[in-house]
Subunit: 116 residues, 2 copies
């Protein structure tokens, strides 16, 4: 068993076309021996954006803190702390922190989506 605190996990800026104000921490993943899926924590500063994009793997998301907007094709959906989002593979999605505090969420992916 490995126990750690998320606040102490290494953080790096997300570098993807159009992404602003967003950092990622890998909390549990194949580098810890996780055989199937990874848990990451994203922190988006107010105004931060992850534009619409898609990929073959799904997301399971839990909003830990803050408010924002999830983009889903042409749709926009308000999201807030305690919300759960399931995004099937290959479906265009994105997020905007249009709130006044950090938008923090867990985002789990299968190991097939781990680019590292």
């Amino acid at each position: 068993m490995k126990v750690s605190n998320a606040d102490e996990a290494a953080s790096s800026e997300v570098r993807m076309d159009g992404v602003t104000g967003t950092s990622i921490q890998w909390l549990a993943s194949k580098t810890d021996g996780a055989p199937n899926f990874a848990m990451r924590r994203f922190t988006m500063a107010p105004g931060g954006t992850i534009p619409l994009h898609d990929h073959p793997w799904e997301h399971e998301i839990y909003i830990l803190q803050g408010k924002g907007t999830a983009l889903y094709g042409d749709r926009k959906v308000d999201i807030a702390s305690g919300d759960v989002i399931f995004i099937p593979g290959n479906e265009p999605h994105g997020y905007i922190n249009d709130g006044k505090e950090d938008l923090v969420f867990l985002c789990m992916i299968p190991n097939s989506g781990d680019p590292r």
Copy 2:
């Protein structure tokens, strides 16, 4: 994309030998179309216990609220909000809420561990 609020998810008592004061909510899983892994939220009342047990699948856990103790074979580890736990498959583990408020955590498992 499916957006829901975790507080509105169905909750049921965990019925396993020795478990007390513990409820589970399935937040995203194969019944939502999730192809690889499931996100559950556990709420353990003060005094609640999940005794040592093991199974072939791993856990990835994020503590949302409260304090408690994780059991890992002969070891005991303090856990609290913001902690991340990775438990490899087949390793004996359990949890005790020896705090004064609910101990609430997300626990992700591969679909191979979904008994439903």
